[in-house]
């Protein structure tokens, strides 16, 4: 069919399979997608501008609301940069607490993705099982911080309150029970012919395209690049724990699913080691008390990269010697993962386009900021 007869179709921004507010303008030849153009910005709040107007410590709540399903990964990312800029050291205990919380957040984020991806492909059951497990994680977050999702647990110089015995017992319970439950969820998805036929060999992303588009995280590792910031530039205490980076060389939907499931197992491995190794010590550096914090000034520019559940999450802070940051720039991994969608969803069926966009793990709080 000549391109003048292609039908234009509008998806979203309020479509159930668009994971938030993604709008896709698709040009169709019958059921084949010929061109696709993502339209974003429906959740844009300009967090970068808000960050320029508030003190260093107060910015954290805006970072919580970026990747709202794995909020503590964002907090770690921001604090890596902010603490370097302000020259504030944190104790060993805080480092271990942050690793535990970041990894539990990663599991929670991947569980939301696994459930939602099942929904994308028409499976309702895994969704409930994923959310039952996630609920246990949210109970742990409530125990340590008092809040469920947007926890605002960490602060410049440490964490707001020490991790309690009860929380550690709950984490131990979770570590003990979760592998079996994860296996159940995994089998629910993988022992289903429809799921396999809709993921295997579909949406193949090759290595060079992925790197050129700045794709990172599980998507890049599913395309055969062994790049994980936790190994490439270890922050906190990731160089003291033993874990592997799952890599697949297929680059299709199924590879991305498998990599994410393996990542959950590796995260659990890290948490298991961390709760044994966590040392005693202060949970907060008194140098960063709130009253002092207002007078604390940062100068120079710092870029810190961390591995969030979606990929390389970078925060670039420029300070001019004032009490507020001069410029904050966030490297959103999902924005780059989304920018490769027009390449991936070329000449595929409409239904496959949904199957592909599901594996990108889109969270719009982070894309639009």
């Amino acid at each position: 069919m000549p391109s003048s007869e292609w039908v234009e179709l509008n998806f979203g921004p309020q479509h159930p399979s668009m994971h938030g507010v993604l709008r896709l303008k698709a040009k169709l030849d019958g059921e084949i997608v010929k061109e696709i153009e993502p339209v974003i910005g429906y959740l844009h709040r300009n967090a970068e501008k808000i960050c320029e107007m508030t003190y260093f410590n107060d910015n954290l709540i805006y970072f919580d609301r970026m990747d709202y399903v794995g909020a503590m990964n964002m907090e770690v990312g921001y604090l890596e940069a902010a603490e370097k800029l302000l020259d504030i050291s944190i104790s060993e205990r805080v480092k271990w607490i942050r690793v535990i919380m970041a990894e539990l957040s990663r599991i929670a984020a991947h569980l939301v993705w696994a459930g939602a991806y099942g929904l994308d492909l028409g499976m309702l059951t895994p969704f409930f099982h994923c959310f039952i497990e996630r609920e246990k994680l949210l109970t742990i977050f409530t125990e340590v911080s008092g809040s469920r999702q947007e926890v605002n647990y960490m602060c410049v110089g440490g964490v707001y309150q020490d991790i309690t015995e009860k929380a550690i017992a709950e984490i131990e319970d979770f570590v003990r029970e979760f592998p079996k439950r994860l296996k159940d969820i995994f089998n629910m998805l993988m022992k289903n012919d429809i799921f396999l036929s809709r993921t295997k060999g579909i949406g193949i992303l090759d290595k060079e395209t992925a790197i050129s588009y700045g794709v990172t995280g599980p998507m890049l590792r599913a395309s055969g690049v062994e790049y994980d910031v936790r190994k490439a530039e270890p922050y906190l205490v990731y160089d003291q724990v033993n874990f592997d980076i799952p890599v697949s060389y297929k680059g299709d939907n199924l590879a991305r699913v498998l990599v994410r499931f393996e990542e959950m197992r590796q995260s659990l491995k890290i948490v298991e080691q961390a709760i044994k190794k966590i040392p005693d010590g202060p949970y907060f550096n008194p140098k960063a008390k709130k009253s002092l914090m207002i007078r604390m000034r940062g100068e120079g520019d710092v870029y810190a990269r961390t591995e969030s559940s979606k990929g390389e999450f970078g925060v670039y802070i420029v300070g001019d010697g004032g009490v507020k940051p001069y410029r904050v720039r966030v490297r959103s991994p999902t924005l780059r993962n989304l920018s490769v969608l027009p390449e991936l969803a070329k000449d595929v069926m409409i239904a496959d386009m949904i199957a592909i966009s599901g594996t990108l793990d889109l969270v719009f709080g982070e894309i639009d900021r």
């Binding site: 509008n10 588009y213 639009d368």
Partner: protein, 155 residues
Amino acid sequence: MNYTVQVIGESVGKDGRKIIKVTKENFLDLMKDLKNQGFDHLSLITGVDRKDFMEVVYHLHSMKTNEYVVVKVETRDYKVPSVAGLWNSANWDEREQYDLLGIIFEGHPNLKRLFLPENWVGHPLRKNYDMKKTQYINMDEEGNDYATFDERGGW
């Protein structure tokens, strides 16, 4: 890391990353040089509004050797050559910086706003942006957003 291009200076930042400062004329040649030397991953493009000039910061990373380098270029007329032809990720990054800071990337294939509606007045991340003026967003017949100062024209 060797490059033949004349640069203004090299330094090491607070986070231990190497910073190269370059003039706007030599900028594109330097970026091509770095791309050929294995910096295959353009991590981030940042515009920093320094009030009388605009500083554009490029974070480059090599997937193979895990090297990191920061390139800084200053511009007074808010125009910088585009690097979208070298790295595909620059396409959306430059659109975002154009949207929020008004930096014009010369040679960009599709320099449109990324987040805000096309007729939005001003660039919000500029230091002199007037935040007291409220703009309202509505949708036209085509389904595209547009901005208006009229309160009744918004949602």
